[in-house]
């Protein structure tokens, strides 16, 4: 079986699992949706920045929520269902199986983001006027891929741990804060800026804001630099993720601790 077949098979199976029981979209989407609603109440007396920060931030958080929980539970559900031994016993490399699942979570994350945008537009009457739809779409898709690659990095840690659910809960807010999803990262302490700038989503959301509002100044590097930073960080995440998976997979095989939960 080629890597591509493994990837596609895993992608398809993951989507089928989701559509067999779509209620699981609620835990993934509820936090970003509520945060967006809270932000809209706080922004009610502020004009101009609402769509840029609250709505786009909510959409980005929706994508991250889905990717994080999808990655966190990609292996935890296998553990609970007793299928993880079979997944690992196949000749296909685990990392390609996880990559297929992460890609499927990314697609569902896009649906999350669009759902948040739609609810906010209809429910709150906040219209997102995009200055350059093509550049916006490119930035959105690259941000989604970047989030997905970050999910692969974290999933390697979840392979080693029985506490994936605790780790996913712990990782949701730090990315929301560090990436400046709903506020400029300039507000954060100066020492945290390198961490923020090492995250692909920070650059991705900035690029989306550039594409939405031509008067936006943001990080100050411009759309194309932002997009390049998303691309580079995604490649780095994938390289780290694949390497970590090799190490983690070998460790759980050697220690025989994969099924522990």
């Amino acid at each position: 079986m080629t890597r591509l077949q493994t990837f596609w098979g895993s992608f398809r199976m993951s989507l089928l699992h989701f559509f067999a029981d779509p209620q699981w979209i609620i835990p993934n989407i509820i936090a970003p949706f509520i945060f967006t609603a809270v932000a809209l109440v706080l922004f009610r007396n502020v004009s101009g920045s609402v769509a840029l920060y609250a709505v786009l931030g909510g959409g980005m958080m929706g994508m991250w929520g889905n990717t994080l929980y999808g990655s966190g539970f990609a292996l935890a559900f296998d553990r609970w269902n007793g299928t993880i031994e079979y997944v690992l016993a196949t000749p296909s490399r685990l990392v390609w199986i996880i990559a297929g699942r992460s890609a499927s979570n990314a697609v569902l994350g896009l649906i999350n983001a669009l759902a948040i945008l739609a609810v906010v537009t209809v429910g709150y009457g906040v219209l997102l006027e995009v200055a350059n739809p093509i550049l916006f779409l490119v930035a959105l898709i690259l941000t989604l891929v970047s989030l997905s690659a970050l999910g692969v990095v974290f999933c390697s840690a979840f392979l080693l741990s029985r506490s994936a659910s605790v780790m996913t809960n712990g990782l949701e807010f730090p990315i929301y804060v560090a990436s400046g999803s709903m506020f400029p990262i300039a507000l954060l302490p100066f020492w945290s800026h390198p961490l923020s700038l090492s995250l692909g989503p920070t650059w991705g959301i900035d690029a989306m804001r550039y594409a939405t509002d031509s008067a936006y100044t943001g990080l100050g590097f411009g759309y194309w630099i932002d997009l390049s930073a998303v691309l580079v960080s995604t490649i780095v995440y994938l390289a780290i993720g694949f390497w970590l998976f090799m190490v983690a997979e070998k460790k759980v095989r050697d220690d025989a601790t994969l099924v522990e939960y």
Partner: protein
């Protein structure tokens, strides 16, 4: 004849259930992971809303309002999410059916299961208030700490009662995870955590006052401004009422859903 508390069946069931839940939790959750959750969750949740508030309205008053509200609300991870999932976790582990087959009273059994989460909630709130003061600059110099301690205790107990009520619904559902997630975060919107309840549409406000957290956030802010227990007693009594009401409704729901699940044979469905 003197009655020894340890021999009183409801207490014995409660205590053994509490001990068992504690041991079961730390059989899979490493203490360092628990500590990581205890110290990082309040910090990042508070940071998110505090920075959002600083961006929208740089005034210090708004920051203090939000920091205090979130310091209290972050306990929902223990008192709502973890407690609501108690019945579902028994399903996942395959232990719900034998548990239901015992003649033990359900009330002390499941309240005992939630006991550790009450302590966990209190610890989380205390950590949240430490961050509020030392990281986010909330002025706590005029705080009545006895009143604040009582508010923390009552909020933890009352919210756990609310979590148990949601968990009763989870007994019949395939999983309580969905409602646990909804009610974990809905407090941010409806319980006066980030803005006053009066900013909500009128039709939504009754929901706010049905959740004990709403009284807790108002009482905590008042305690930080120096209100004593005597001054806070009407609010605290309302919070106790909301928590006790949740617990009673939860128990009745549990008995009803237990009967329904027995009749339909859905105990093991998940």
């Amino acid at each position: 004849m003197a009655i020894v508390l340890g021999d009183w069946p409801p207490f014995r069931i409660f205590w053994s259930s509490a001990k068992f839940a504690f041991k079961a939790l730390f059989s899979w959750l490493r203490p360092e992971m628990w500590l990581m959750q205890l110290f990082t969750l309040p910090l990042f949740q508070m940071a998110f809303f505090v920075y959002l508030s600083r961006f929208v309205n740089p005034g210090a008053a708004g920051v203090a309002f939000i920091a205090v509200g979130n310091a209290l609300q972050v306990a929902s991870f223990s008192s709502i999410f973890a407690v609501c999932n108690i019945t579902s976790e028994e399903k996942w582990q395959g232990t719900l059916t034998p548990l239901i087959a015992t003649p033990a009273s359900r009330f002390p059994l499941f309240v005992g299961r939630a006991m550790f989460q009450i302590l966990n909630s209190m610890a989380t709130i205390v950590v949240g208030f430490v961050y509020a003061s030392f990281v986010f600059g909330v002025d706590m110099s005029g705080t009545d700490f006895v009143a604040l301690a009582v508010v923390i205790l009552i909020t933890s107990l009352a919210m756990t009662g609310f979590g148990l009520m949601l968990g009763s619904v989870g007994l019949y559902l395939r999983t309580a995870m969905i409602i646990a997630n909804i009610f974990l975060f809905i407090g941010l919107l409806v319980c006066g955590v980030n803005f006053p309840v009066t900013a909500l549409p009128t039709w939504l406000q009754p929901l706010s006052y049905a959740i004990p957290m709403t009284y807790g956030t108002i009482a905590a802010r008042a305690a930080i401004q120096g209100s004593s227990i005597a001054e806070l007693s009407p609010l605290i009594l309302q919070e106790i009422g909301a928590g006790a009401g949740s617990l009673v409704v939860g128990y009745l729901l549990f008995l009803g859903f237990e009967a329904l699940a027995r009749r339909r044979g859905t105990f093991e469905e998940f």
